[in-house]
Amino acid sequence: MKPDALITVEGATKDYIVHAEGVRATLRALRGIDLTVRRGEVLAIVGESGCGKTTLSRLILGIEEPSAGHVSLEGKAATDYDRLARAALIQPIFQDPYSSLNPRMTIGQIIAAPLVVRGRGGRRERHTQVMDAMRQVGLAEHLRNAYPGQLSGGQRQRVAIARALIGEPEILVCDEPTSALDVSVQSQILNLIAELRARFSLTIVLISHNLAVVHHLADRVAVMYLGQIVESGPTEKIFASPRHHYTRALLDAILVPEAHRRLPRLTIDAEFPSPLTPPPGCAFHPRCPAADAVCREIDPPPVGDGDTRFRCHHPLPTPA
């Protein structure tokens, strides 16, 4: 374990038993994930639906246990924490603020819940803390007695953030925190996350498919494909010179609202293979422009120079 590693994932594998077309099958959602998140950094996990990024976040949150391998927080297995200790260390923020707030509780009750659960402080003390938290995320005081149904999407996401932060955790796991929100509200929430991160020196795991958002917020990026991390490294480096062909395609696919842009022609085609029957060899080979016989046979091991790692037999060249 590196000295500054806050979250360490080693060889984590997660299997689910599923029933596809009447047949019992094993879905390997994660296939040997190695990952470290350092204290104070924003690590983005990027990938398309079904790549396992949400499963990975659930392992980190300790909601689920890996089928094999280890996930540890501050050197201790995530599932070994008792519920209160874990809650004090790590908190999630979900994509859909319509689903993450209990419709039958007031905003005040929702934000105070972590304090109530921990039995911390008297009624008056909790009230002050809730008010502070609401102010910090930019919620008006009178909303304390409102119900989630009366709030806009952006306001609800602020409530979710306030609830996550009131117990002063060190780690925030944000699963697509803005993709359910309107464009003009997204930037407000991104700004808020960035500001709170600086103020509370949070460590953030950001799960997103939006590379523009990732580029804006993250210090490091891990690109996932079919249950594996295919490339990871510092954001600037990954965006400037990706080594894996899948990363290249993801970057090409970013649609930027600028004049005189043409639609990208991607170098990859075909569709995502089913995670139930991952292709042999390199999982990406059916879509890869550089695939050859080796790729069809042998799964490339992670290789890397310095702080970047990637899994590819024929990596893209680095600019000299």
Binding site: H216, L250, P257, A259, L266
Partner: protein
């Protein structure tokens, strides 16, 4: 809004701004509880207002086709792809069974489906999201429509698939020459895919013009605010605060007694408290603002009332 053959118009706006509703009005599919008030809706000069349900059926699917956001819910899970395509063909095309099948296979090939024979006999749930959307596009093309309305066609898809589907629509348009109305909330989608943009806010078009003009020199403060709120790798400084539009969208039942954007605008003046008309900036570009930003400078325009335009 107007649209020429072979052209793509993007209708952009946030949820609840009325972008889907205005497009659906073109197909006559207005929800029963909504009331449509329009001066003129016309296809190739022929008015579509006041058509009877029977006449609509000859137009919908045949001359105007729609591609929806979620291909899982717009395909019937009980029928195979072949059943669903044949249904459209039977209603609108005078083809015998063999010719119809040949056409279906041809269309599936055109939308980039590699093994059309197997796909025809499959059910929607057996296809991935991207494939389903391709099938939807093939169905839309069945009758060589003059207009295709695509309502958030790529929002439910993954980023790499999204780019492919947009590319496909553009390629097909070149080949078939249909007009395309692309409804989306994503300005990034618009940038590459549309010739012209209509930005909607609170039920009104607030700015319209050629894509490149609107994106590089937005005249309306709402368009400007939207563009500034989106991080762009390479352009926005990493980690720096993003621009944002304060406040929330007005409730749809709010009366139109002032500029709809007045409460969130960065530069309101007292004259904004009257309804503002969509005023031309140049022949192709118009904005519903009396203080638009032109060439980097805010220009005062004489407030024209809505009735005058």
């Amino acid at each position: 809004m107007t649209l020429d053959a072979g052209e793509t118009l993007a209708v952009v706006g946030e949820s609840g701004c009325g972008k889907s509703l205005s497009a659906m009005a073109i197909t006559g599919l207005v929800p029963p509880r909504a009331k449509l008030i329009a001066d003129r809706i016309a296809l190739k000069g022929k008015s579509l207002l006041g058509l009877r349900e029977r006449e609509w059926r000859g137009i919908r699917g045949r001359r105007i086709a729609v591609v929806f956001q979620d291909p899982m819910t717009s395909l019937d899970p009980c029928y195979t792809i072949e059943d669903q395509m044949r249904e459209i063909g039977r209603q609108h095309l005078a083809l015998d069974a063999r010719a119809l099948r040949a056409r279906m296979l041809d269309l599936l090939r055109q939308v980039g489906i590699s093994s059309p024979e197997t796909r025809l006999s499959q059910y929607p749930h057996q296809l991935s999201g991207g494939l389903r959307q391709r099938v939807m596009i093939a169905i839309a093309l069945m009758c060589e429509p003059e207009l295709i309305i695509a309502d958030e066609p790529t929002t439910a898809l993954d980023v790499t698939i999204q780019a492919q589907v947009l590319r496909l629509l553009a390629d097909l348009q070149k080949e078939h020459g249909f007009g395309l109305i692309l409804i989306t909330h994503d300005l990034g989608v618009v940038a590459g895919a549309a010739d012209r943009i209509a930005v909607m806010y609170a039920g009104q078009v607030v700015e319209s013009g050629p894509t490149d003009t609107v994106l590089s020199a937005p005249a309306h403060p709402y368009t400007e605010g939207l563009l500034h709120s989106i991080p762009v790798p390479g352009r926005t400084a990493r980690g720096a605060p993003l621009g944002f539009i304060p406040g929330v969208v007005p409730r749809p039942d709010a009366p139109h007694t002032a500029c709809g954007f007045i409460n969130r605008c960065s530069r309101p003046v007292s004259a904004c408290a009257t309804p503002i008309a969509l005023m031309p900036i140049d022949p192709a570009h118009a904005a519903r603002c009396i203080r638009p930003c032109l060439g980097g400078q805010i220009v005062e325009r004489h407030p024209a009332t809505e009735t005058a335009a």
